[in-house]
């Protein structure tokens, strides 16, 4: 294991802990959020952005050099139509299951066996999409970021 992987694992640990500690890995919490009966998940998203945005803005301005990954290059996506229709498909799945990709791993980690079904479904959905885009073998990224060419988030 190299250092980057280990550090990323630790950040994942923190993220999964916070995610589950806020109850965001539970269907009922997300369902009530999407019925607009529970506001906490929106406040979590908002305050997380409000915390990260100014820090990243400042680091970018100061031309921050990251200790493990070279000069900081923030990833951005220009608007494309697939953000809209991909968003509609994603949002439908989110509403049906009360889950997003982060929920799937954290609900599984919290001992819910049905998380396995979510994980299998998500991987199948990605494979289905990749099978419908041309030229397998080339790393056709779905969005063209300004840096980090491979994969998606």
């Amino acid at each position: 294991m190299n250092r980057v992987n280990g550090v990323c694992g630790l950040f994942g640990l923190a993220f999964g802990f916070l995610f589950a500690a806020a109850g965001l890995n539970q269907y009922d919490v997300i369902h009530r959020m999407l019925l607009l009966e529970e506001i906490a998940p929106f406040l979590i998203m908002g305050s997380a952005m409000a915390t990260a945005l100014p820090i990243l803005w400042l680091l970018e301005r100061r031309r921050w050099r990251t200790p493990l990954g070279g000069p900081l290059a923030l990833r951005r996506w220009a608007f494309e139509r697939k953000h809209l229709w991909g968003g509609v498909v994603f949002g439908t799945g989110w509403a049906i299951t009360g889950a997003c990709p982060g929920t799937a791993s954290t609900t599984l980690g919290a001992g819910s066996l049905l998380g396995i079904v979510l994980v299998v479904g998500i991987v199948a959905g990605i494979a289905l999409r990749d099978a419908t885009v041309r030229t397998p073998g080339t790393a056709t990224p779905d969005s063209v970021p300004q840096s980090a060419p491979v994969g998606a988030d």
């Binding site: 921050w64 951005r76 439908t92 001992g111």
Partner: protein, 157 residues
């Protein structure tokens, strides 16, 4: 198991700490925090493409982090529980529903380039225009479909 962690922790604790996680991962490793990319690695691996190992380490971390919470504070969905949806549907119907929903999540996230974390949290924090469009679309669609489900099930869901 130990019931020492009050769940759920309040939003004003979790939100800012999540923001620090997003900014911290960028500041230390120059990586854009996002979960769905980890599942993409599984597909890439199966197709013999190069993979980004760090994403799988990150995903494994989220799994362990949630396991820690379950140990310290309990887990309402342990076993075959799935909240209100689990009470509404029989187990076979629930499995089918979650699988179909999962396919939509994976397909949509792959099209949109990222999910609720990669676009919603991190993309908005990097002031990415595509991310802002994607996350607004995610939320508006999910709210609309949830209200539709609520109506179709006569208020059971």
């Amino acid at each position: 198991m130990f019931d020492v962690l009050p769940i759920p922790l309040p939003w004003y604790v979790v939100g800012p700490l999540m923001g620090l996680t997003v900014a911290g991962l960028y500041a230390v490793t120059n990586k854009h925090l996002g979960v769905s990319g980890a599942y993409v690695q599984v597909v890439d691996f199966a197709r013999g493409r190069p993979i980004e190992g760090w994403r799988l380490w990150f995903l494994a971390g989220t799994f362990l982090g949630a396991a820690v919470v379950a140990m310290l504070g309990g887990s309402p969905q342990a076993g075959f529980g799935y909240g209100e949806l689990g009470e509404y549907l029989s187990l076979p119907a629930l499995v089918v529903t979650l699988f179909i929903g999962g396919v939509l999540i994976g397909f949509g996230a792959r099209c949109a380039g990222a999910c609720t974390s990669g676009h919603g949290l991190t993309g908005c924090a990097t002031r990415s225009r595509g991310s802002l469009v994607a996350v607004v679309t995610f939320v508006v669609t999910a709210v609309a479909v949830t209200f539709l489900l609520h109506l179709l099930t006569g208020g059971d869901l």
